[in-house]
Symmetry: C2
Subunit: 213 residues, 2 copies
DNA sequence: CCCACAATCCCATATATATGTGATATTCAC
DNA sequence: GTGAATATCACATATATATGGGATTGTGGG
């Protein structure tokens, strides 16, 4: 059972280290190591990698775009990002592009092999510092309140949700099969409970605080 | 340089393993190991832990509430969660409660010491399976579009943002120091570009797609 | 049993909003 | 320097919305 590893890393000394490190490891076979991913499509088709190591800061095409190119061709081959920077937006961009893991270069020597095994098993290994960034940015959004925090009734939420879809009062009425006046009444109560006095404020408060999705 | 570790774990055999494991490790000192965290406040004040290991499934008070109790008292002592389940909502609840790391029990033997060191350094270690959950749930929200995707102009965004604050057209006009009619014009254009025809739909689309915050 | 609350409907009206048409000045690219 | 895009303002009007009042019915708790 051999794992074919494809490497994109422009720093030659690090690239050589990676190759050396994995060559020593039983079960790993390096099918290619390159300093840029301009010829990525070809490599994918001919080298049959099981996992790809991708540096973030690559010349010509950066690692993020590299992942995008990979994901445009296949979604099954896991990609492990390598970087020196723990920068929030790069992390997010890489994850959205379809990267599976995120390893800081200073941990390569101790955690590369484990991390490769982790992504092969469907996990998303990341260095603690990276994980910290992600967690912080999640927390920043704040814990979601529920509709209960404002004592909204089930029906009032129905109306709010329908309204947030962009429905007019009349459409909400049709949607929920109630009269226009009933819609008005519910909305009136919602406004009182949320302490707002316009549709715009109600919808934006509801969405921002996670009362509705 | 001794690290004081406080442990809450109801499974006695695991708790003993944890104690044994850390006792062997130089630099760690276990100041307490308990099967529940009912007496948490006392422990915090008298045992002076530098790091706390907390099981998720605890009798009486569960681990999530345990973290909340800790965070009500201090925000500086890192808490590392231990769990057998990789369940999305528990993970989120724990993170929001203020946990710093999240370790699956099956990795305790190999990664506990490293993980403790990671949280002490301000990182957020987590098992790859846990990280995967978090990443998936982030990705689910989809990559944020920018206002550019709809060719909104700077001024149109200004108006949209002001509207989403709950401002009426008149208030937007005051806010941006332009006339009411100009506000109308901008909004008209926004509606055309977003393909919506009401304020509610515009605001909810803008918020949901991340055009505005 | 009574009360509070939820859900439903009705009426009335002052504002606000959506939409059309039209105009002027500025800027920026070609 | 001509044209396209932007930002600004104006006028008109049909709907929609916000808000006040009042009413009926069912339900669940005390």
């Amino acid at each position: 059972m051999n794992v074919n590893v494809l490497i994109y890393e422009d720093n030659e000394s690090l690239r050589n280290s990676l190759v050396a490190l994995l060559s020593r490891e039983k079960g790993f076979h390096i099918v290619g190591d390159y300093s840029d991913c301009t010829d990525l499509e070809n490599h994918l088709f001919h080298l049959h990698p099981n996992v790809i190591l991708m540096d973030i800061d690559l010349p010509e095409i950066n690692g993020i775009d590299g992942v995008k190119k990979i994901r445009a061709i296949t979604t099954t081959i896991p990609v492990l990002m390598l970087t020196v920077f723990d920068d929030t937006s790069s992390v997010y961009d890489a994850l959205y592009a379809g990267a599976n893991g995120y390893l800081l270069k200073k941990y390569v020597s101790t955690r590369l092999v484990t991390s490769i095994n982790d992504v092969l098993e469907g996990g998303s290994p990341m260095s603690p510092a990276i994980a910290r960034l992600i967690i912080d940015s999640i927390k920043q959004k704040g814990p979601k309140k529920t509709a209960l925090d404002y004592n909204l009734t089930a029906r009032e939420i129905d109306v709010l949700v329908s309204l947030a879809k962009g429905n007019s009062y009349k459409m909400v009425a049709d949607d929920l099969t109630i009269s226009l006046d009933t819609v008005r009444t519910h909305i009136k109560h919602v406004y009182e409970k949320l302490h707002v006095q316009s549709q715009g404020e109600a919808i934006s408060k509801a969405l921002r605080e996670g009362l509705i999705k």
